[in-house]
Symmetry: C2
Subunit: 462 residues, 2 copies
Amino acid sequence: MKSTLEILQKHFDSSSIKTEKEDLENYGTDWTRYFNPNPVAIFFPKHIDEIQKIVLLANEHHFVLVPSGGRTGLSGAAVAKKEEVIVSFDKLNQIISYNELDQSITVEAGAITEEIQNFAKEKELLYPIDFASKGSSQIGGNIATNAGGVNVLKYGMTREWVLGMKVVTAKGEILEFNQGLIKNATGYDFRHLFIGSEGTLGFIVEATLKLTRAPKEKQVILFGIPNMEKVVKVMNTFRAELDLLAFEFFSDATVDYVMEHTHVGLPLAKRYPFYTIMEFESNNGKNTELVFSIYQKLYQKGWILDDIFGGDEQTIKHLWGYRENISSSISSFIPYKNDLSVRISNIHSFLSETEDIVKNNYPDFIVLWYGHIADGNLHLNILKPNKLSVKEFEEKCKKVNLLIFEIVKKYKGSISAEHGVGLLKKDYLEYSRSKEEIEYMKLIKNIFDPNNIMNRGKVFDT
Amino acid sequence: MKSTLEILQKHFDSSSIKTEKEDLENYGTDWTRYFNPNPVAIFFPKHIDEIQKIVLLANEHHFVLVPSGGRTGLSGAAVAKKEEVIVSFDKLNQIISYNELDQSITVEAGAITEEIQNFAKEKELLYPIDFASKGSSQIGGNIATNAGGVNVLKYGMTREWVLGMKVVTAKGEILEFNQGLIKNATGYDFRHLFIGSEGTLGFIVEATLKLTRAPKEKQVILFGIPNMEKVVKVMNTFRAELDLLAFEFFSDATVDYVMEHTHVGLPLAKRYPFYTIMEFESNNGKNTELVFSIYQKLYQKGWILDDIFGGDEQTIKHLWGYRENISSSISSFIPYKNDLSVRISNIHSFLSETEDIVKNNYPDFIVLWYGHIADGNLHLNILKPNKLSVKEFEEKCKKVNLLIFEIVKKYKGSISAEHGVGLLKKDYLEYSRSKEEIEYMKLIKNIFDPNNIMNRGKVFDT
């Protein structure tokens, strides 16, 4: 019987296949560092027909395919550790067409998120989904994980920007969903089944994306705030009066790492338990006035303790840095990341209960909070104490997870707000989804992928 | 063997069941008038458990259930013509809870759309999905058909406002989807499968809806425009500069019926081929200035031929009347309605090709166009010539359909933009969805509804 590699070599040009150890390790993993990559090969299709072909071969010869984009994921959904064949979209990365009247763009799945943003900018439009890994993440991966980021408050998730989609199902059919339409009430909308499916149903090979008006004269204001309850109240007071572009938060402890790593001073004259950064459209100064008049009231109430305003590009960049540089500033401390969400109204109690649990069980752990408060999305990062080995630390963190996820469950929250399930969270899926729901997921997976050749063992076991 | 009615009478209080002829006819149909209602009975559950119970009974005794809301649908999805049992949500219509911090509201599926809008208003917030039938349509039906309306341009469809959902599946499980979260990347999102499923998978019994900031100082401006191509260009010029709340269009012929029916004069001094009504937030006059400066340019270009501005409530109401009263003004002429969508860039050629086809084949037909131009959503209405009987007219219209749907298919449009498929469009589904997609719909239906007890024969045949 032929080996998987022999099958690939027989059917595809050798220039489309990589098997060097270095490549296997590089393409075999994502930004999670917990798994040991072990793919058979990496396949680089140059045309959709080649994807259809390898899907049919996988069904015939029973090997497993792992769709691979920019590999910036944090859940292991793109990890290949079980002799899978990785299908990389690096050579299917073109912007196919732009339609001015539709304000839409059609791209291959391998197109880089930032290149799509820049293309929109050239057309004086906006592709608003924005996050730290945009420089290398691919749109196919963004769609497969329904990527969020810092602008969800105003613009929603990736889901809301996908007007159409071309997929190759796990059975090898090439299907087009929704043909770029804004309204289409003709039965089940399969776009929304594939969005967030983490490559378990088929390959997303093309997408038609909606673009929109770019905001004019962005301004930001950074606040120091006494506690999490006030953080939420401050946000709601502002968004009742104007449309905000972003409202992010971070805890005081994060600031030390950003100061150390990026050589900046304190964001404000004094330290405060929490900081928020709010972005809005100046709108010829009208909104700026409005923001300051609201600020005055909240300052007198003691909900806001101090502020710094950013009106020019340089200050805006500086202030955003305190939020955007957290992740890179703490990466050397091997943070154990959790990407959680609860209803906004539960954030305050959820956060304090979680902190207590961690402090009581692991007093030497350093706990950092930051994230997208308007989405109820909290990034919990626990830093490794020096005295612990990475292995010991991970063991303890796995125990912490269970305690934290119990609280998530209590508040009917999500164990993965925007990173996805992949391999990292699948054992915990029942903390956020019912047994019945998971059973339905498996039944739906089986419809599209009866031989289980697509990203097997990701999200759930079959 | 017991009859279905006997089974109902055995298990439920008689006050929950109606069988009077008048009720059967009333509850057996929707705003489509093409079908003869013939239900066995109407069941009015007062609690979710009763829905679960009747679902289990339907599976055991093989009778079919038709979910029934406000019955304002235009596709026959709520029609019961085959001795089904209608399950009405008239007694499950409460607003269960409101959460100020989350800006969300949890309601029973029978809650009236307009009552939800009014409740939001009391809280100085907005539930933005708005359409003509809001006074009697129920939120469960809105979700089951992913209702659109006049504010989609700014706020999207119903889909975007559903944070959580409680359903009773066709197998009788009570499932909660997404628990009111904004972000939740934990596998397939079943909300989006049930949204737009037209009652074929189970009962939507509760929903948690997102509310948002209500716009301040709405203003409208009505334009006279030479042709459809310019209509699209005018819209895009404005929305490149500011966020619009609505941008609707109607053809000149519609005006006669509105003038006749609502006793108003011409919207503008002279008549023009097309009219648009644009709504936006004044924003302390800033946007008003902007709109007028853009208007000047487009007027000089000849894209806009005349305008009338509405700044006060009364004028706004008057101007909106020309668009909103079309449907009621033509209803006595027994219009044959089609709810079509194409990409905005195809509207111009689609509309002219469609007009030619109808004119060439049926020169005596009066063709009216109006709709949501920003969504590519065109409501095509054909009025019955007096000399034709209703039956003859319908026969001819069915023939016209095929010609029109061929053009829809050519432009990869939708045969139902927002009304749904139900009974009215199911024979034409293949004009907008591929055979493979329809096959997948049937397979998914079979997962949730193996005995086909939910709204059998709607959307597709099984």
